[in-house]
């Protein structure tokens, strides 16, 4: 089947097998290997990306279902060497060790912050329930998400709403988010 998908700002038109998962399309056909696969039951969340502004486990969606969508992966968050505030917060709070869950954690954290710009600890923990990490014990991930929330407060940079809408909105909005 023929699909057209915009991924990290670049438009692709491809013929794909109907059974191909979105994550397989991203990794195998587009070379977007920053998004990874950690399980086969949609439990680990390592493959989380944004589709039209909302987090999706890309192993639980067919590539053909993404036809006409805008997809953002962890590779599309920074531009000109500038990290997204959530990425910076993960680094500054030592929220990763092996780093395998990190792309999914970051994408899910952004979605969570779009829902709640100033989440308390329990809200963060529950918001990340679908993303597993085996290295960190989550403590520094929770801290990073709350730190990112502070960094993205009004006045401290773009508000969290913009993060939520980044994939659904125009290229201009996306660029603003990237440069935040």
């Amino acid at each position: 089947m023929r699909i057209t998908v915009t991924v990290d700002g670049t438009r692709y038109t491809d013929d794909v097998e109907p059974r191909m998962l979105l994550v397989q399309y991203l990794r195998e056909q587009l070379g977007k290997v920053g998004t990874v696969v950690g399980c086969d039951t949609s439990n680990c969340g390592a493959c989380t990306v944004h589709v039209d502004g909302h987090s999706v486990k890309s192993c639980s969606m067919l590539a053909v279902q993404a036809d006409g969508s805008e997809v953002t992966t962890v590779e599309g968050l920074s531009r000109d060497g500038r990290m997204h505030p959530v990425q910076e917060a993960f680094h500054d709070n030592h929220a990763l060790q092996c780093g395998f869950c990190t792309p999914g954690m970051i994408m899910q954290s952004m979605d969570l912050l779009a829902e709640d710009a100033d989440p308390d600890e329990q809200t963060v923990r529950e918001g990340l329930e679908g993303n597993l990490c085996r290295c960190t014990g989550y403590q520094n991930i929770v801290r990073a998400v709350q730190d990112a929330a502070h960094r993205m407060r009004p006045g401290a940079g773009p508000d969290a709403e913009r993060v939520a809408d980044e994939t659904a909105m125009s290229e201009q909005t996306r660029a603003e988010v990237r440069q935040s």
């Binding site: 290997v33 962890v74 780093g99």
Partner: protein, 792 residues
């Protein structure tokens, strides 16, 4: 991004330096093995046995071979002459029984998940499609699953040719060894005895990155990329297993997504991919699914521990007897038989136990082989003795901390040689415990507990204690030799000064999340007086890091970084000679500090970077000095290191539902000197999560046919953020005296300490209701049944 979280006077070491590793990882700019593709690369898929024990009568691959895109279908018979037997490096006794361990099953399968055939195809999808077209005629054989019944007379056998399900029995007795008295005599004459049997459930390491292997046979060397903890061991063992010359093999561990012992292995999948790629002459990649990982990568723990403790009425322990059954699974993998033996040295823990007897029988079953999982032998031992100390305290009506203090080695008694022959160089159990008590609010929580009991609250409060130590820094080679291990315990390191003054550090350690690149840079920057960012740490490739014994057993810093320190010191010694020549003075008159060589008492100096350039030019070197500012060193530790700590856990147990809520957790660890406190804290937090997971959540469950029913992440409960609290962590610092850095290792501490702290806490919450033990994992059902008198 800021460079550092805080500053530390006197250099890099001790600073919470943010990690060099992160920039790529948070941007998705990663080199996981499965990310890699090579021109002409084929994809491999593996057909696995659905049966736990069966004879293979016939395999029909004809239909699969004819399918679109299929390059080859390979069965065990096809590689029977090449695959050898997978290595077991630890024959714990001379008469240990070890079955032949083919990578691809030839005529029988011994666990559900064992590899039976592979398809190599143009795409992974085509390879998987073709698997379904392979027909196998299996003849089912009796399945052996339970260790205890496997040891009874007349039991069915996993390997009938061995004549028994027992692989080996390993015994240590302090009376025979001359390190103490007889445990049996102590028990016979004891004022108090405590007897308990604990079950260490089977666990799955569950590293987040599934295993992946890519083999390129097109060069002069066959190159393997593998998601492994042990690239150096893997190269050696590939050579020894397949007969391919060692110098014709290169192994690379690129980015590796966690291991926890689960990637300390030479796997069937690695050997098969290696053989198949060489056979086809084309690059071949194999990446496992999570379900395959759970049913084929090695599991951990799985022991039955029978303990008897003798004590006086004042709480002084007078003897300990330990009898273990350890489940090997179907085959002996790399260090399978040695895992419980590592625990033999840790049952006496931090205590002065005058009589000790240990025996362990290793048992075969038709299950996935067990092997190292975070802590490997030490968590099992620590769990059992820390549970016993709580049981003794309950028996005597004493406070569990008081019983421990009565028995532990006092700070002024170090160095101390234990009943199991180890010499602990240092420790301060008093300081760690005092700090933990304070942070935890121990007395207030005890008061609340008493009040809740008095009121008869439906939610009861429990307080769990774990005062642990562990042997780290694996390992002194002579000790490993005495334990019949097949290799040494040294580590290799090298330091190369480049002409521009930058530094390459090569380490034989092979990190997979630990942060070696950052920590080693801190150490070398201080040692050589160069910038943190001027150091590049190379690892995980047998071509650049030609020698090493890799990462496991909390050995990287204590052994691996010590090799790097020694290499750096050799570089300084070389540079000093050249500096003296350049500065026209005697070598003894040259002082080295902060990267500068200075003529003593003058301001005449030169930098190590200037020397590096002068060495490159080599125009004016002293006679007999090579134009090289590189050095390497191999460090073999004299002794283990012994991190210790006191962990306190408070749980609230709902006596009506059996639900356990972790209320607070305090961990005070003493890991000696600290290179990077941020990394240390991260290791502790992650370790705690894994130990708590054993206590409350995780278990690999087999049904009566030998099918793993917890074979996916939907069934095997790796905790999420919502399942865990924030931990309070702190440290005391008692430097190790067994290495120049004064470090002890931290990778396994949290996991080892936390499991007994949590279970002690849960039992403590409901002990007044007649509960003496709750089997792990302490699920609501088990806790409820323990309270209400059902089966444990």
């Amino acid at each position: 991004m800021t460079a550092t979280a805080d500053s530390h006077a006197g250099g890099e070491v001790g600073q919470a330096r943010l990690r060099k590793e992160d920039a790529r990882l948070i941007a998705g700019r990663t080199r996981w093995t499965d990310n890699m593709s090579l021109p002409g690369m084929m994809h491999m898929a593996i057909l696995r046995s659905p049966l736990a024990h069966a004879r293979i009568n016939r395999i029909d691959t004809s239909e699969a071979r004819s399918m679109s895109g299929v390059e080859a279908v390979v069965t065990g018979a096809d590689v029977a002459d090449d695959q050898g037997s997978l290595p077991c490096a630890w024959p714990i006794t001379e008469d240990m029984k070890s079955p032949n361990a083919p990578s691809l099953a030839v005529d029988e399968v011994n666990f559900a998940g064992e590899a039976v055939a592979v398809v190599v195809a143009r795409s992974a999808a085509e390879a998987h499609d073709a698997l379904e077209a392979i027909e196998i005629d299996y003849e089912e054989l009796p399945v052996v699953l339970d260790m205890s019944s496997a040891m009874t007379e007349g039991s069915d056998l996993v390997h009938p040719d061995l004549g028994t399900n027992a692989s080996a029995t390993w015994v240590f007795d302090s009376a025979e060894a001359g390190t103490g008295g007889s445990a049996d005599e102590a028990l016979a004459g004891a004022e108090v005895t405590v007897h308990r049997t604990f079950r260490q459930q089977r666990l799955i390491p569950a590293f987040m990155e599934p295993r992946s292997i890519l083999v390129d046979p097109t060069g002069e060397q066959t190159t393997m990329w593998s998601a492994t903890q042990v690239p150096h061991i893997l190269r050696l063992m590939l050579a020894m297993t397949t007969g391919v010359d060692e110098h014709k093999i290169r192994v690379i561990a690129p980015d590796v997504g966690g291991g926890f012992g689960g990637k300390l292995q030479v796997t069937p999948e690695e050997v098969i991919t290696f053989l198949v790629a060489r056979k086809l002459g084309k690059p071949v990649k194999y990446t496992e699914s999570r379900s395959e990982s759970f049913t084929s990568a090695h599991h951990g723990r799985d022991q039955i521990q029978k303990l008897s403790l003798a004590a006086n009425r004042d709480g002084t322990v007078t003897g300990l007897k330990v009898e273990l059954l350890a489940d090997m699974g179907a085959y002996l993998r790399l260090v399978t038989p040695g895992v419980p033996i590592l625990g033999a040295f840790m049952f006496n823990a931090i205590y002065k136990i005058p009589a000790y007897h240990f025996s362990c029988t290793n048992v075969f079953t038709n299950k996935v082989p067990t092997d190292a999982y975070r802590g490997a032998g030490r968590p099992e031992a620590t769990f059992a003795i820390e549970r016993m100390m709580d049981e003794l305290a309950a028996e005597l009506g004493m406070d569990p901390l008081e019983v421990r203090e009565r028995n532990w080695i006092k700070h002024d008694e170090f160095p101390y040689t234990t009943v199991s022959t180890l010499t602990y160089d240092s420790g301060n159990y008093e300081a760690a415990t005092a700090r933990a008590r304070e942070l935890f609010g121990y007395d207030a929580l005890r008061a609340e507990q008493a009040e809740r009991r008095r009121r008869g609250d439906t939610v009861q409060l429990g307080i769990g204690v774990s005062t642990f130590t562990e042997m780290c820094g694996l390992a002194p080679s002579r000790v490993l030799g005495a334990l019949s291990y097949g290799a040494g315990g040294w580590e290799h390191g090298a330091v190369r000064m480049l002409p521009t003054g930058k530094v390459e550090v090569i380490t034989g350690s092979s990190p997979h999340g630990q942060g070696h690149e950052t920590a080693w840079s801190q150490i070398v920057a201080d040692r050589l007086g160069v910038g943190f960012d001027d150091v590049e740490v190379l690892h995980g490739d047998t071509q650049s890091s030609h020698k090493g014994l890799d990462t496991y057993g909390s050995r990287s810093l204590t052994v691996g970084a010590m090799a790097v320190v020694q290499a750096a010191d050799k570089v300084i010694a070389k540079a000093r000679k050249i500096a003296a020549h350049m500065l026209e003075c005697a070598e003894d008159d040259v002082e080295f500090s902060g990267g500068r060589f200075t003529v003593r008492g003058t301001d005449t100096s030169t930098s190590i970077q200037e020397i590096a350039l002068a060495v490159f030019a080599a125009h004016d070197l002293p006679d007999g000095v090579e134009p090289s500012l590189d050095s390497e060193a191999t460090f073999d530790p004299e002794n283990f290191s012994f991190p210790h700590g006191t962990h306190l856990c408070a749980t609230e147990v709902d006596t009506e539902t059996g639900r356990v809520r972790l209320r607070s957790y305090v961990a005070v660890d003493d890991v000696g000197n600290v290179v990077n406190p941020m990394i240390v804290e991260g290791q502790v937090q992650g370790g705690l999560a894994q130990g708590i997971a054993q206590a409350l959540f995780e278990e690999a469950v087999y049904d009566e046919t030998g099918t793993l029913t917890s074979g996916t992440l939907a069934d095997y409960l790796v905790p999420s953020a919502a399942d865990l609290p924030s931990f309070t962590t702190d440290r005391t610092e008692t430097p190790s005296t067994t290495n120049a850095l004064g470090v002890k290792g931290v990778g396994e501490a949290g996991t080892i300490a936390s499991t007994p702290a949590v279970v002690n806490s849960v039992v403590d919450a409901v002990r007044h209701m007649g509960v003496q033990d709750i089997e792990m994992p302490c699920t609501p059902m088990r806790v409820w049944r323990a309270i209400h008198g059902g089966a444990r």
